[in-house]
Subunit: 147 residues, 2 copies
């Protein structure tokens, strides 16, 4: 694992398992206006800028019928985050808190889920509003939002 | 990939990539009353039975502070599902539809997310109501639900 993050005083790491248990395919990438984590909004805004989800052509047929959903769930992989912290010190309040009590990207599996407004499905491009992730984030799933 | 499922007439598969792009750790397992997919409810009921999420002791410190959240998001891995179908025929209506327009477990990355009611956090056990997954499902993440 590579990481550009350091542990802050009070934070705790665990030893990661020797190996992973299953594999994820990156099925596309998400293009957003935010090139660094510091510039990302704290949470997505349904009236925020349009973002483009570019699907690998291998999966294009799987988009059939998606356009009829006004809102979709986007699952993605926060590929820049370290994975071994169990206790974190929050940047805002300096509070000590367990990783599973946070929505921080730093977690054993850096998976995230956002429910967003669907704007259009055209070819291999799905345009949405309401994301808050880094430009270039790997996509792992798309599905209709729960109604 | 092993699979106990066959393709139905009208369904379409794609060639899976030669390798995966990232690895998932199973951080625990979910115990539910449903031993087969056929017996699982179609969707979780917040007043349904209590289910126990058993966390690997390696991650127990990461539960600190979780108990203050009335609702949490549970991400899990639907480990029995095949991953190569791009078009599916729904069992109920016989409709042809793309994988990303369905919430079926059959998808390139069998990730699922449920928002559930938190009942208790005790040691390595998190008790919740509202899940609909198979007994023994691998857990990949826990986090506070979006408010």
């Amino acid at each position: 694992m590579t990481s550009n993050e350091t542990i802050r005083p009070g934070e705790a790491a665990t030893a990661l398992p020797d190996r992973t248990d299953a594999g994820v395919y990156f099925i596309g990438h998400i293009r957003t206006p935010w090139p660094t984590r510091e510039l990302c909004p704290r949470r997505g805004d349904p009236e925020g800028p349009e973002c483009r989800i570019e699907i690998d052509p291998r999966w294009v047929e799987a988009l059939e019928g998606l356009a009829s959903n006004p809102r979709i769930q986007v699952l993605y992989w926060m590929h820049e985050a370290r994975r071994d912290l169990v206790v974190q010190i929050t940047r805002r309040s300096g509070q000590r808190i367990g990783t599973f009590a946070l929505r921080s990207p730093v977690r054993p599996n850096p998976t995230a889920s956002s429910v967003v407004e669907l704007v259009a499905v055209e070819g291999t491009t799905v345009t949405v509003r309401g994301l808050d992730c880094l430009d270039g984030t790997p996509l792992i799933d798309l599905k209709p939002a729960r109604d």
